[in-house]
């Protein structure tokens, strides 16, 4: 490319290791893009994506240095510039949006002032014109009522809004290149889709070149012209987005694609074995050889050169011609939690409502409950032995509250929870007997937080074993080793601390800890959302296997409809702590749907360049549920009138235990949704 805007030439970046050896974390990266191009930079954690992105800003984390090569921005070497010149370029011509935009905003400073500062630093606008420009920027990122927003503080905004403010700040200097580090990771599905569509439009409007760094091919599919895949510090594949997503020439990219759960397939995606080598590890031959199904002796001995293919890709693989013809992965596991005898009820929630409001002093004296709309209300659910019930909704929809209530961490305000038809689960944890505690286990979202950083794996696994079974030291060890084997970890993990394991390994230890209790009901709270997609596939597969082994029922909470589709037999959709729809997943994922389910389904990102998200409802965040009527009244794209605001919608049955809570007659609802669907196809 002759008119390259940013050109990374044979760049190697590394650090000096403990023994004085130089360890490379980026190896001979050649990468460039021109004006207005959008590139997706994809790979698992620890593959060097973020290091490369930061290097393109002329920044290296402390301790890192350039070993070889350079980066040219408009033909100027970034690493040869002095700090003043770099500061002028950064934020002005080259802008970065960090991974967690919420944390990148100053909490004590108003939104208006923060953006104005960027405007002041990177433009020559007169002070009195700056406010105008800030408002313009805020409307450019489609934030409603920008003038009012100027006076707000970051914590008053939702995650999606904070992300938009960060984008507005980055746009202040009219940058030529915008680097986005995991721009939508951690956001809700609908917000994610909205933010990506916004970025896509901005790229088209402003002609800004954008680089999206992500571990998820689905997230970059829609917004990138070109996709570059990194593995172990090397660029292993680069090519047109469509080609990479449809038919990648590198087995690693193929593996990544296959590990993404698809909305249309009710199977656990196939997973790649192994994990990337730790950053800085010296590699002989092809770095991916250990995890590759077609690796031969050549791969282990000789590092593959970069070659161009007939399909416009540049690939680092000896056998790239063969990738296309690789046999499809072994048939993925069919979910065991799907086909279950639903009459054998294990857990039943009847009219459960949960409130976080605490009664005031006067109410306490009079023994009154505060008269506020409860956070979670009207929940009627049952879970059969050995089945998986998916619980879906955006953040704040009360999914986790329901799990915590079942686990006894927060007693319900109203309603009954029964276990095995006769045991009440209304009692809090400290009033449940040990055997009941043992039978209900909870797995958390983030293993970094749910595993005590001071405990070795042996101690982590010993805790439930000691508590529930009173095992002695020898038995503990044998049992722990067996548990580790069940989650496919070796006994050498016993001595490790959580800090010495990868995210996926930690989550597997957390799962092993839950299964140490031999539970009958496992409550999974977003257990894969903190993990890379490739690791997610492994964990999902493992959960399926353990379910078959222990005949445990899962209540699987997630905001990701595709993941729930992969694992759950039945799905319940929650909005603002109220049920919208519940039924077998084949029914929930087909029309007619509750309007909210429709919105969620439309927003799912798929690794398919032709899948266009349908953005219907605004991604505004509601802080509290409406007191009356349908919970979704304020955002519903199909609203029919005041009845939605005043009357609780009826449960409409479509058969097979599938119910939709909506005022619109089902026939009518389906007709409306079909019209939208066909409009989307055109």
């Amino acid at each position: 490319m002759t008119d390259a805007l940013v050109e990374v030439n044979n760049l190697s970046v590394g650090f000096t290791g403990a023994g004085g050896a130089t360890l490379a974390i980026l190896r001979n990266v050649d990468f460039s893009f021109g004006k207005g191009e959008t590139v997706g930079l994809v790979g698992e954690s620890g593959c060097g994506k973020s290091t490369l992105a930061l290097a393109m800003m002329g920044f290296l984390k402390p301790g890192l240095r350039v070993l070889e090569g350079d980066i040219l921005f408009r033909e100027h070497n970034l690493f040869a510039m002095n700090n003043n010149a770099l500061e002028d370029i950064r934020g002005g011509d080259l802008a970065l949006i960090p991974q967690n935009a919420g944390q990148a905003l100053t909490p004590t400073s108003r939104i208006g002032r923060q953006i104005e500062e960027s405007v002041r630093l990177h433009t020559t606008l007169a002070p009195e014109r700056r406010r105008e420009r800030v408002i313009e920027l805020l409307s450019q990122v489609r934030l409603p009522e920008p003038e009012e927003l100027l006076e707000r503080y970051p914590h008053e905004l939702s995650g999606g809004q904070q992300q938009r403010v960060a984008i507005a700040m980055a746009l202040a200097g009219k940058p030529e290149v915008l680097l986005l580090d995991e721009p939508t990771t951690g956001l809700d599905v609908t917000t994610q889709a909205h933010v990506l569509e916004l970025l896509r439009d901005l790229a088209a409007q402003t002609g800004t070149a954008m680089v999206y760094v992500s571990h998820d091919l689905g997230a970059v599919a829609r917004v990138s012209d070109r996709i570059a895949v990194m593995y172990a510090g090397e660029l292993v594949l680069q090519g047109p987005a469509r080609q990479v997503l449809r038919n990648p020439a590198h087995p690693y990219a193929r593996g990544l694609l296959l590990s993404i759960p698809k909305l249309k397939e009710a199977v656990v995606p196939s997973s790649m074995p192994g994990r990337p080598p730790p950053p800085g590890k010296a590699v002989q031959g092809c770095a991916f050889a250990d995890r590759c199904t077609m690796a031969g002796q050549l791969c282990r001995d000789v590092s593959p050169p970069l070659v161009s293919t007939a399909t416009d890709e540049v690939v680092r693989c000896h056998y790239h011609e063969k990738v296309e013809n690789l046999p499809p992965p072994e048939p993925p596991r069919r979910g065991d939690g799907r086909s279950r005898d639903l009459s054998d009820t294990l857990l039943r929630l009847d009219d459960v409502s949960i409130s976080y409001a605490r009664p005031g002093v006067i109410d306490q004296i009079l023994g009154r409950q505060p008269d506020v709309t409860p956070t979670v209300d009207d929940i009627v659910l049952d879970v059969a032995r050995g089945e998986t019930l998916g619980l879906v909704g955006e953040s704040g929809s009360g999914k986790s509250s329901i799990l915590n209530t079942i686990a006894g961490l927060r007693p319900p305000r109203k309603g009954t929870i029964t276990f095995e038809n006769d045991v009440s689960l209304n009692a809090p944890v400290d009033r449940r007997d040990t055997d009941l505690l043992r039978r209900v286990q909870l797995i958390f979202q983030n293993p970094d937080a749910s595993l005590n950083p001071r405990h070795t794996v042996a101690e982590l696994l010993a805790q439930p074993l000691r508590l529930y079974f009173g095992l002695n030291a020898g038995e503990l060890r044998d049992r722990s080793v067996a548990l580790l084997e069940h989650v496919r970890l070796g006994s050498h993990y016993l001595g490790r601390l959580p800090g010495q394991m990868s995210g996926g390994e930690k989550q597997r230890v957390a799962i092993a800890r839950a299964f140490a209790a031999e539970p009958e009901l496992v409550l999974c709270d977003e257990v894969t959302s903190a993990l890379d997609v490739s690791v997610q596939a492994v964990v999902l597969d493992l959960l399926m296997e353990l379910q078959a082994r222990h005949n445990a029922a899962y209540v699987y909470v997630s905001h990701d409809l595709a993941v729930v589709r992969a694992i759950a037999g039945r799905v319940a959709v929650l909005y603002q702590g109220r049920l919208c729809e519940i039924g077998p997943s084949s029914k929930v994922y087909a029309l007619p749907s509750h309007p909210y389910t429709e919105v969620l389904l439309g927003a799912v990102l798929e690794p398919d360049p032709d899948s266009i998200p349908v953005l219907m409802a605004e991604d505004a965040v509601e802080l509290s549920p409406p007191a009356r009527g349908c919970p979704f009244q304020r955002r519903c794209p199909h609203r029919i009138g005041t009845i939605c605001d005043t009357t609780k919608p009826p449960w409409q049955k479509t058969g097979d235990g599938h119910v939709i809570r909506c005022h619109i007659p089902l026939m009518d609802l389906e007709r409306r949704q079909r019209t939208k669907e066909s409009a989307r196809r055109l």
Binding site: V429, T434, N446, N452, P453, L467
Partner: protein
């Protein structure tokens, strides 16, 4: 129960960790200097009764405010006692009393803070207001009051100092506990049905221990200073026992004629405090590294 599990923290394992921490501290210049100073002072305090050149109470009229000489390296004080002897012995009381006081302060303040941080609610509110009230009182006045009433025996000094320093430990330990209790592993332990005691001992303590250690080390240096201040004011050690604070108080009137009599204890005292501070600093850094032992890069 704690010893029953071989894979957890066997005694050897723990000793290994203490050794590793000290080695790591000594790798830093500040840690090396600090540890050497503290080590020297402690060693001196232990062996000084056997190696001092003279008796610390013997008064020699020829030695009154005498200049340093080959026989008396640091000269004599206003009562004709050997300054070197008294300086060598003068740290013993300070070390023992402040050491014990710190230990008790960290133990009681730490445990109370931990419990408050864990249970929270109204009890926490009430106790913390009392703590605030105590912290608003100028502690030296209060100390003097107690000592005036109860006397200056070690059995009074140690608990009194421990009480006052423990109050500020409560805050630190409560904050550190708060930081931990909000994390999911505590929720996990609660959901599992672990008893309160197990949660405190097994889940929280290992995570606040480091903070408490560093805080304790800092407090130790403050307590040495506080004890010496009391002695200086005449409320600490009963003469004729040698003590740095007392020596400074006595010597300062003759500073113009016999500066060595006041300089020697001042240098001893400040070197001790600097040494403890340096060590505490290195300890914090070392444990910080220990804590940040995350996945590479």
């Amino acid at each position: 129960m704690a010893v029953a599990n071989p894979a957890n923290e066997a005694p050897g394992n723990r000793a290994l960790r203490v050794g590793a921490v000290i080695r790591e501290m000594a790798r830093r210049p500040s840690g090396l200097v600090g540890l050497a100073i503290v080590g020297g002072h402690v060693l001196l305090a232990v062996i000084s009764p056997w190696i001092v050149p003279y008796d610390y109470t013997t008064q020699d009229s020829r030695l009154v405010l005498a200049s340093p000489s080959p026989e008396h390296w640091l000269g004599g004080d206003h009562l004709g006692r050997d300054v070197l002897t008294r300086t060598m012995l003068g740290g013993r009381q300070a070390l023992v009393i402040s050491g014990l006081g710190t230990l008790i302060a960290v133990l009681w303040g730490g445990s109370l803070g931990l419990v408050l941080g864990l249970i929270g609610g109204k009890v926490d509110d009430v106790v913390m207001r009392v703590v605030d009230a105590f912290m608003a009182i100028p502690w030296i006045l209060f100390l003097l009051l107690i000592i005036a009433v109860l006397g200056t025996a070690d059995a009074v000094l140690i608990p009194t100092l421990a009480f006052f320093y423990g109050i500020s430990v409560i805050r630190i330990s409560r904050a550190a506990t708060h930081d931990v209790t909000a994390r999911d592993f505590i929720t996990a332990a609660r959901a599992r049905g672990e008893r309160m005691w197990t949660i405190v001992w097994r889940e929280i303590l290992p995570n606040v221990r480091d903070v408490m250690l560093v805080d304790g080390a800092m407090r130790w240096s403050w307590m040495i200073l506080a004890f010496s201040s009391l002695s200086f004011l005449g409320f600490g050690i009963t003469p004729p026992t040698a003590d740095w604070g007392l020596m400074i108080a006595n010597g300062r009137s003759y500073m113009a004629v016999a500066p060595w009599a006041v300089l020697a204890p001042i240098i001893a005292l400040s070197s001790m405090i600097i040494g403890v501070n340096l060590s505490a600093d290195a300890l914090a850094k070392t444990l910080g590294i220990d804590r940040a032992q995350k996945a590479p890069v």
